[in-house]
Amino acid sequence: MYKQGIYTVMSNRRIAADVYRMVLSGDTQYLDRPGQFINIKLSGLYLRRPISVCDWDKETITIIYKVVGEGTARMAAMTGGEELDVLTGLGNGFETDFTKLLPEAGIRKSPEGNFVFPDGRQVTAAVVGGGVGVPPLYALSRKLLSEGVRVIAVLGFNQEDQIFGYRDFAELGVPVCLTTVDGSVGVKGFVTDALKNFEYDFYFTCGPEPMLRAVWNLGKERGVEGLLSFEARMGCGFGACMGCSCETIAGPKRICVEGPVMKSGEVLL
């Protein structure tokens, strides 16, 4: 369900090079899954800005965004108290019910409330993020943990001054492996250079398309399925304009409505 509303900027601070964390207060009842996004109207700019939701509670929405153009630059200059016209509840978000994600695997809930395979082994999910693809994986990780899934995180950045957010994952109790392209912190290289050393039953990934493709290819080699969250230039963000449609095995899908999260078995990369 979509909803338009007025939200107040509670805080907005820089957390890495060109990356900001903004907390908005307002009606959050239309957000129901991690991986959804909101679409923000900024005065003087014609189209809204779609930004993925990092986290939310009853009164607030947290977004983490990178300054990439005029709109995000204006957002970065906000100091708090500003009122924004925002559409919420957009996008499908991540499914976290493993009986639906892997229907053939015989996964069930154990008496302890964990998702387990028929042999009793707990399901392990890898959450794999790159840059500003990391934020939606935070609320996702918390949700997965609450559903009784083991979670490991592999988070990739270009270089040290762009790193953010990994401590939040660690605080949830999620083991985090960092990668940087220049090797300044963690494993040198791309997320897949680290991910290939881990065992996991399923992956959830969000980040730039070359990264999604690499994670997807690694999954194909290993016979592991996953969910991938895409981004695109959007017109409306709620399915009216077809501006963000991508081709899939199951026909054209709108990244804003049937996505941004797509199944590894349906995407064409």
Partner: protein, 303 residues
């Protein structure tokens, strides 16, 4: 106060119609408000066969508008009739306007004839002005003879009113409108998007995949008003005015230029409540300007 308008014998509660391509097949918007308040809905452009459309990116923002290069993505007329119309019917109880595109005269006739059988459709809007496809679309709308030929063929095959949707990317839109009317058109819809382009300053490359694409939004309104004004002088059939409408004042301006009804396009993409707000604002503006019956103001700029 009376907001009703009549298009070829079909009376609409008000003149506000979401424009094709900015409202999907209508269903998405019922999540925001009760869409039965609309005059009607112009459905997403439909072709004989399913089309994916153009590669991404398809959208680039402009000052006071956007350019789009969707390329007529649609599931094809059979699926529109078997899936989209029944789904729309669950949330919209009025007749809709089918928007029809093609790559040959036979295509247009085929798709129009399929919609002609549907009780849910009030008008066949023939799109000979899509700038985003090759070998069809706008090609038929750039020459008076070609436009008239499409119009004549569809008229011969269909019973419902046929409205020709015209391109602004021509030397004389009035001439093309006149040729369509002579070929039997029951009405004229204008304008479709203007051909535009955006180039990313950092890379120096066009932003959308097709390079040039259709420009719409409030920036094009003066062009649309001028073209509606010109066409009103050239034809007797009703005109649906489209281009940059965002407010009740815009509706009144467009109707004064000669429009019997209006379509609201780009505004829907930015504000999903745009049409609702316009419809709610119209009575206030009518009262302020002493307009008793909205249909009376059509073409008043000419007198």
């Amino acid at each position: 106060m009376d907001m009703r308008v009549t298009l070829s014998g079909w009376t609409l509660d008000n003149p506000v119609i979401p424009a094709s391509g900015t409202y999907g097949f209508g269903y998405e918007f019922h999540q925001f408000y009760d869409i039965n308040m609309l005059g009607s809905i112009a459905l997403k452009g439909t072709t004989k066969d399913p089309r994916y459309g153009n590669p991404l990116p398809r959208i680039a923002e402009c000052r006071e508008g956007l350019i789009n290069a969707i390329g007529l993505q649609n599931p094809g007329v059979e699926k529109v009739i078997s899936e989209e119309l029944p789904r729309l019917k669950t949330v919209f109880h009025k007749k809709a306007i089918a928007n029809i595109s093609g790559f040959s005269i036979e295509d247009y006739v085929y798709t129009a004839s399929r919609f002609d059988q549907e009780e849910q459709i009030g008008i066949l809007e023939i799109n000979i002005s899509c700038p985003n496809v090759h070998g069809g679309g706008m090609a038929f709308g750039q020459k008076a003879e070609a436009a008239a030929e499409v119009c004549r063929a569809v008229k011969a095959a269909c019973k419902k009113p046929v409205y020709m949707k015209l391109s602004p990317n021509v030397t004389s839109v009035a001439e093309i409108a006149k040729a369509c009317e002579e070929a039997g058109a029951d009405g004229i819809v204008l304008i479709n998007t203007m051909l535009g382009m955006r180039i990313e300053p950092r890379t120096g490359k066009p932003i959308v995949s097709t390079k040039a694409a259709g420009f719409s939004g409030p920036a094009v309104k003066p062009v649309a008003v001028r073209m509606v004004y010109e066409v009103y002088e050239a034809v007797k059939c009703p005109i649906i005015g489209v281009g940059g409408i965002e407010t009740a004042d815009d509706v009144i301006e467009m109707m004064s230029a000669g429009a019997a009804a209006v379509e609201v396009g780009a505004a829907n993409l930015v504000d999903p409540y745009a049409c609702k707000k316009i419809i709610e604002e119209l009575p206030e503006k009518m009262a302020a300007y002493g307009i008793e019956r909205l249909s009376d103001i059509t073409g008043r700029a000419h007198h």
